[in-house]
C-alpha cells in the first residue's frame, strides 16, 4: 500500500498515542497521565485563558533574548573572525565563559534584574550569545579564499565587499547556527521560567506540580514545549530554503 509521505509520521504518532493510552489504562496509578487526560488538561488551560498567555510569555522572552544575542554576537563574531588579532585577544575570555551553562547564571540574573521578564531574557541572551559568536567566527574562517580574492579583484570598497561577498558567503552557515541556537533558547526559557518568573510554560510545569501534583498539566506543558519547538525549527528551516541562501548545500 502506497501512503503519502506526510501520512507516515502522523500514523506513527497516532500509534504511539494509542500504546501510551493502553499502557496507562492497564496500570492505573501515578506513572503518567494518559493522552486523553493530557488533552483534557490542555482544554482546561485553554478555557482559563492560561495556555495562550503562557505560550505568548515564553515566546516573548525567547524572541527578545535571541534577537538581542543575534544583534550583538553576529556582528562581533564576524569582526573577530575577519581580524585574526582581535580573535586572539578575545579567544581566552570566550573559551572560559562559553562552557558555563546559562542556568548557572540564574542567581546572578535574579540579583541584577529581580524576578521577572528581564532576568529570563538575560538568561536566554547568555545562552545564545556564545554559540552565535562562535558560529559567526567560524563562518568567516570558512569563506573560500576564491570568493575573497574575486571580490578584491573587482575592486569593491569595504562596504560593498561586506554587502556583496562577505554577507552572502556567511549566510548559510549563520542560518544553520541560528536554527540550532534558537533550539537552545527554547531549552533555556523553560529552565529560566521554573525559577526566575511566574508565568510561561516552564512556570506552568513547576506550578502544576507544586500546587497539587497535577501531572496532567505538567505533561500538557511538556507537549506544548515540544510542539512549539518543532514549529520554531520548521520556521528557521524554511528560511534556509530561500534559493540564494541555500547555495552551500549544492556547491562547496
Amino acid at each position: 500500500m502506497k501512503l503519502p509521505r506526510w501520512l507516515r509520521p502522523v500514523l506513527f504518532i497516532f500509534a504511539l498515542l494509542v500504546i501510551w493510552e493502553v499502557a496507562v489504562d492497564l496500570h492505573p496509578g501515578q506513572i503518567l497521565p494518559g493522552p486523553v487526560a493530557v488533552l483534557a488538561a490542555l482544554v482546561e488551560l485553554l478555557q482559563h485563558g492560561l495556555l495562550l498567555k503562557y505560550v505568548v510569555a515564553s515566546l516573548f522572552r525567547v524572541t527578545w533574548g535571541f534577537m538581542l544575542a543575534v544583534a550583538l554576537a553576529i556582528p562581533l563574531g564576524l569582526i573577530l573572525g575577519w581580524y585574526g588579532r582581535g580573535e586572539m585577544a578575545f579567544n581566552p575570555v570566550i573559551q572560559i565563559l562559553r562552557p558555563i551553562s546559562p542556568l548557572a547564571w540564574i542567581p546572578i540574573a535574579i540579583l541584577w534584574f529581580g524576578v521577572g521578564d528581564l532576568a529570563a531574557v538575560f538568561l536566554i541572551f547568555v545562552g545564545c550569545f556564545f554559540p552565535l559568536l562562535l558560529t559567526a567566527m567560524s563562518a568567516v574562517h570558512n569563506i573560500p579564499a576564491v570568493y575573497i580574492n574575486a571580490g578584491r579583484n573587482f575592486g569593491l570598497g569595504s562596504r560593498e565587499f561586506i554587502a556583496r561577498v562577505l554577507y552572502p558567503a556567511v549566510i548559510p552557515q549563520l542560518l544553520d547556527g541560528m536554527r540550532i541556537t534558537l533550539g537552545v533558547a527554547w531549552l533555556v526559557v523553560v529552565a529560566a521560567e521554573m525559577i526566575a518568573v511566574n508565568s510561561g510554560l516552564g512556570f506552568l510545569i513547576v506550578d502544576a506540580r507544586n500546587a497539587g501534583n497535577r501531572y496532567d498539566l505538567v505533561v500538557a506543558g511538556m507537549v506544548m514545549i515540544g510542539a512549539i519547538g518543532l514549529v520554531l525549527d520548521l520556521a528557521m528551516r524554511s528560511l534556509e530554503r530561500i534559493k540564494s541562501f541555500q547555495w552551500r548545500s549544492s556547491e562547496t
Binding site: 573560500p144 576564491v146 570568493y147 580574492n149 574575486a150 578584491r152 579583484n153 573587482f154 575592486g155 560593498e160 556583496r164 561577498v165 552572502p168 558567503a169 549566510i171 534559493k243 540564494s244 541562501f245 547555495w247 552551500r248 549544492s250 556547491e251 562547496t252
Partner: protein, 262 residues
C-alpha cells in the same frame, strides 16, 4: 639562452607586462621556502602566453604575484610600465574552480563587476557576454544548476564584462573532463580572437599550451625559474597533427624533462 636576460618583445607590439628579477619566498614554520626565483619576462599587448612547468613548481604563485594578490619578496611586476601593488579590475584572475559566486545567478555573476554602470549599460553588457560564452537560456540559473564547463565559461564572461586589459587564467580547464576541455579551448580562442586581450594562462597540459599560446614560458621545478621560452609559430586554426605542431610538442616535452616513450 641566458636565464636573466629579458626576452625581447615582438617588434610590432608594445610590452604590456614586464617582470624584473621577480622572486617569492614563503615563510613556513620559521624557514623561508623559495617558490620563485629571478623571473624575467615580458608579454606583449594582446599576446597569449602559457606558463607550463612540473606540478607544484610555483606556476600559480607566479600568476598570483602577476595579478597583485601576492607581494613579491624581491623584484617587481609592471603593467603598462606601472608597478603592480595589488589586485585591480583592469586585470582579472580566473580560478580553476569554484570561482563564480554560488549565491548569484548567471546574470548576477556577469554583472558583479558592473555596479557602477547605468542599468541599461549593465544589461547590455550582460546580454552581450551571455551570448559570447553561449549561456543563453541560463540567465536566471544558479551555478549549482550549471555543468563544470558552463561555470568556467561564466567565470570568463564575468571577467571579460569589466573590460580588463589582462586576463590571468589559473588552470581554468584543469577540473573539466577531456572532451569539455578541448571544446573550451576552442571557445577561449574564439573569444580571444574577437576581443583581443593579453592572456596569461597557467596549465600543466602540454597540448593545451601548444594549441593555445603564442609563446610558452617553461618553468623549472621549485624554486621556479624560467627554463626556456618557446614561440609557437603556427597560425590559428592549428592542425594538431601537423609536423610542426608535433615538433613543438616534442620540444616542450623535452624541456620539461619527460621522455618520449612511456
Amino acid at each position: 639562452m641566458s636565464l636573466a636576460e629579458p626576452i625581447v618583445p615582438l617588434p610590432d607590439r608594445k610590452p604590456k607586462l614586464q617582470t624584473r628579477n621577480l622572486g617569492v619566498v614563503y615563510q613556513r614554520d620559521g624557514t623561508g621556502i623559495a617558490a620563485l626565483e629571478d623571473i624575467n619576462f615580458e608579454v606583449s599587448d594582446g599576446e597569449f602566453v602559457c606558463l607550463v612547468g612540473p606540478s607544484g613548481c610555483g606556476k600559480s604563485t607566479l600568476l598570483n604575484a602577476l595579478g597583485g594578490f601576492l607581494s613579491p619578496t624581491t623584484g617587481s611586476v609592471a603593467i603598462d610600465g606601472e608597478t603592480v601593488t595589488g589586485p585591480d579590475r583592469r586585470r582579472i584572475l580566473v580560478f580553476q574552480e569554484h570561482g563564480v559566486f554560488p549565491w548569484l545567478t548567471v546574470e548576477g555573476n556577469i554583472g558583479f563587476g558592473l555596479s557602477k554602470l547605468t542599468r541599461a549599460e549593465r544589461e547590455k553588457r550582460i546580454v552581450h557576454y551571455i551570448e559570447m560564452v553561449r549561456l543563453q537560456g541560463f540567465e536566471k540559473a544558479y551555478p549549482s544548476d550549471l555543468s563544470g564547463g558552463m561555470k568556467q565559461r561564466l567565470q570568463v564572461a564575468r571577467a571579460l564584462a569589466v573590460d580588463p586589459d589582462v586576463l590571468f587564467l589559473d588552470e581554468p580547464f584543469g577540473s573539466l573532463d577531456s572532451i569539455t576541455r578541448v571544446i573550451m579551448r576552442g571557445e577561449l580562442l574564439r573569444i580571444w580572437q574577437t576581443e583581443r586581450r593579453t592572456i596569461l594562462f597557467v596549465t600543466h597540459d602540454i597540448d593545451e599550451a601548444v594549441q593555445l599560446a603564442d609563446r610558452v614560458v617553461v618553468l623549472s621545478s621549485r624554486p621556479a625559474k624560467i627554463q626556456d621560452i618557446l614561440t609557437v609559430d603556427i597560425p590559428h586554426p592549428r592542425n594538431i597533427s601537423s609536423p610542426r605542431y608535433l615538433e613543438l610538442r616534442d620540444e616542450l616535452l623535452k624541456l620539461i624533462g619527460l621522455a618520449y616513450e612511456i
